[in-house]
């Protein structure tokens, strides 16, 4: 089962190894040795981190490192477009370094390290699963040897440009990480874009750059309204996500053809030009593949294979004094670490909430809504709860604490036999929360 879960990560690693070997065909031995070492170090390092640091911190570190490769891909792609304009014809020092064996080894080592760490994040109970880690390392090394054999049968005309190589490696790491909900970067990116756009437009209103005036016609408000929609984050995120790979495609398309005016014979001149065009076409394969891989990462992020635990809310009543009581060991076991949802109705109003025992063993009662998103509710999976609206993952350790997209805590008292909370307080908390977040047509589940 674990092996099945590791398929996206391990396949990504195999392709990374293959592309690295084709990117540095003169240093096959160096690259394969560095890639194997990096993978082993990454997997072992992540395992060690899980032993000594809290899980959330480890996942955060891994996510940041993968995010760093994405930023690197951005930088490289912008530089590649700049270079393709031909403004700086002499080979830069960076390009000279990129053709040396130490650079090839360092790149293979770093790629292997990150890929190994991402794979290790997929192993359940990483805190002590030494055997699984060992098998993972062996599989990673075996795949490097398989890539080595496969690379030799690839056509010689299939060449890889360094920017294309870097973008594809970053894309493959993103694909691997997007299959692990706590390492996924696309959902947080869309959230950031959405929040940034909302804040930006809000600031425009505040500073009167968009004046609330009669001359702004209704259809114009319709367009402005789009900026406040949920989809603005998704589409904006897509742009940021795909731009590096698309810039590399553009850079390769803009590459200048070799000077042939010194070749006297026309056919020979055209032959050189045709060979350059053909080689350019082959170099396009890698960034186009990166676009496909990034699309896969978006798909994995939007439609994760994990099934969220999302029980139907159970109707619950208050006592005549207005107190709601939920026994710890009643119809459900409140201390099983799973999310238990309830629906409370009073005086024509209703409130949805859940009870959950955190990993520290504390019971917490929270609204099935947060203070900033539409109240689409939460699901639970892999040590987190997820806000269905904005796809933000909330580690179980932080559930019960207010702020951000965390579920809004509800005051309650815990006694030996169960939890007690005030019905009126619950209704008021719910109403106060969704008043600012729900929309008339789409409010609540």
């Amino acid at each position: 089962m674990v092996a099945l879960k590791l398929i996206p990560q391990i396949l990504s690693w195999a392709v990374i190894a293959l592309v690295l070997l084709r990117g540095f065909p003169r240093y096959r031995t160096t690259v394969s040795a560095a890639a194997c070492s990096g993978f082993a170090l990454g997997a072992a390092g992540m395992l060690a981190l899980f032993r000594f640091l809290p899980g959330e911190l480890c996942f955060g570190l891994a996510r940041d490192v993968v995010g760093g490769t994405f930023l690197l891909a951005w930088g490289v792609s912008v530089a590649a477009v700049y270079r393709s304009t031909g403004r700086e014809k002499a080979m830069s020092w960076g390009e000279r370094i990129a053709q040396t064996p130490p650079f090839a080894a360092a790149l293979a080592l770093a790629s292997g390290f990150i890929a190994g760490a991402v794979c290790a994040c997929r192993i359940p109970g990483s805190e002590g699963n030494l055997l699984a880690c060992l098998i993972l390392v062996l599989a990673g090394v075996a795949l490097v040897f398989a890539a080595l054999a496969l690379e030799r049968v690839l056509p010689a005309s299939f060449t890889v440009s360094l920017p294309g190589l870097l973008v594809l490696v970053a894309a493959l790491l993103l694909l691997g990480s997007s299959s692990i909900i706590r390492l996924d970067l696309f959902a947080p990116l869309t959230m950031k874009v959405m929040k940034f756009t909302h804040d930006f437009v809000h600031q425009f209103f505040e500073s009167m750059l968009i004046p609330d005036h009669l001359f702004i016609r209704p259809y114009l408000w319709g367009y402005i309204g789009l900026l406040f929609g949920k989809e603005v984050g998704f589409w904006g995120g897509l742009v940021i996500w795909f731009v590096p790979a698309l810039l590399i495609v553009l850079a390769i398309r803009l590459e200048r053809l070799p000077q042939v005016s010194h070749i006297r014979q026309g056919a020979a001149r055209r032959r050189v030009t045709a060979a350059a065009i053909r080689a350019r076409g082959f170099r396009l394969v890698v960034p186009v593949l990166a676009v496909a891989v990034l699309s896969g990462a978006v798909y994995r992020s939007r439609y994760p294979s994990v099934e969220y635990w999302d029980p139907k809310p159970m109707p619950i009543l208050a006592s005549p004094s207005g107190e709601i009581f939920i026994p710890k060991k009643g119809e459900v076991n409140l201390e099983d670490g799973q999310l238990h949802k309830y629906l409370f109705k009073q005086g024509g109003k209703e409130a949805r909430f859940f009870v959950l025992m955190t990993p520290e063993g504390k019971l917490t009662v929270d609204l099935d809504a947060c203070a900033i998103c539409k109240p689409d509710g939460y699901g639970q999976a892999e040590g987190t709860v997820i806000c269905y609206y904005c796809k933000t993952l909330i580690p179980l350790e932080t559930v019960g604490k207010p702020g951000g997209c965390n579920p809004v805590p509800v005051p309650f008292t815990e006694k030996d036999d169960g939890v007690h909370l005030d019905g009126l307080t619950l209704i008021n908390t719910w109403s106060g929360t969704i008043q600012s977040t729900a929309r008339p047509k789409e409010g609540g589940k």
Binding site: Q265, G266, A267, A268, R269, R270, R271, T273, A274, I277
Partner: protein
């Protein structure tokens, strides 16, 4: 070094032997005329030497390449890089202009270059007919477009399958003069099949085929 070397070259179609074991050497830069009656094996020899057909037996080396050992792709590459062909029926694309017909050959070779195609047509005296379609050209002009198309990729070997068969005397002389000039400039080898003795004498050497057998050979120029 001989451009073409054959040894026991044979081509059979079922029971019919179109070309019986043939030993032939054509040095680089030679103009070889091939004569014979219909069905004597002239076109079969042309097709084999040009890489359009494969022999049934024997060996065939053209420009140092063993054509029998080439794959289909290798043979296509050989034709593209090494051979130019001029047919009696011009085989020009009727809806393309003269310059576009020449550029089409460039396209299949590498990449089109209009300026170079124009220059080639100017070399064959058709600088004023660049945009005319084949239907708007005389037979001699069409054949000159074919020559421009055949030489545009700088072949080492130019094959002519009765290139003057459809032309009047004046046009025939014009085409042959043109081939002579181009050969002097480009130094390619010419193998030209013809029925006409007057045309054959333009070559350095003439071979005569009869029923697939080389029966006679004469040097027309020292």
């Amino acid at each position: 070094m001989a451009t073409i070397e054959t040894s026991g070259l044979t081509r059979s179609y079922g029971d019919i032997c179109a070309l019986k074991p043939l030993d032939l050497q054509v040095p680089e830069g030679e103009w070889l005329s091939v004569m014979g009656h219909s069905g004597s094996g002239k076109s079969t020899l042309m097709n084999l030497v040009g890489g359009l057909d494969r022999p049934s037996a024997g060996s065939l080396r053209v420009g140092g390449k063993d054509l029998l050992g080439l794959s289909e792709d290798g043979l296509a590459r050989f034709r593209r890089e090494f051979v130019g062909i001029i047919f009696q029926q011009h085989h020009l694309v009727p809806y393309l202009s003269a310059v576009e017909n020449v550029m089409m050959a460039q396209y299949f070779h590498s990449v089109p270059d209009e300026a170079e195609a124009r220059t080639a047509l100017e070399r064959v005296g058709l600088g004023h007919r660049l945009r005319n379609r084949p239907g708007e050209l005389s037979g001699g002009e069409q054949q000159r477009v074919c020559i421009a198309r055949a030489i545009i990729n700088s072949p080492k070997l130019l094959l002519g399958d009765e290139p003057t068969g459809n032309l009047d005397h004046k046009s025939t002389v014009m085409v042959l003069e043109l081939l002579k000039e181009l050969r002097a400039e480009e130094r390619f080898t010419i193998i030209m099949v013809t029925h006409n003795q007057e045309v054959a004498v333009w070559g350095d050497r003439t071979i005569y085929l009869d029923d697939g057998v080389l029966v006679r050979e004469e040097r027309t120029r020292p």
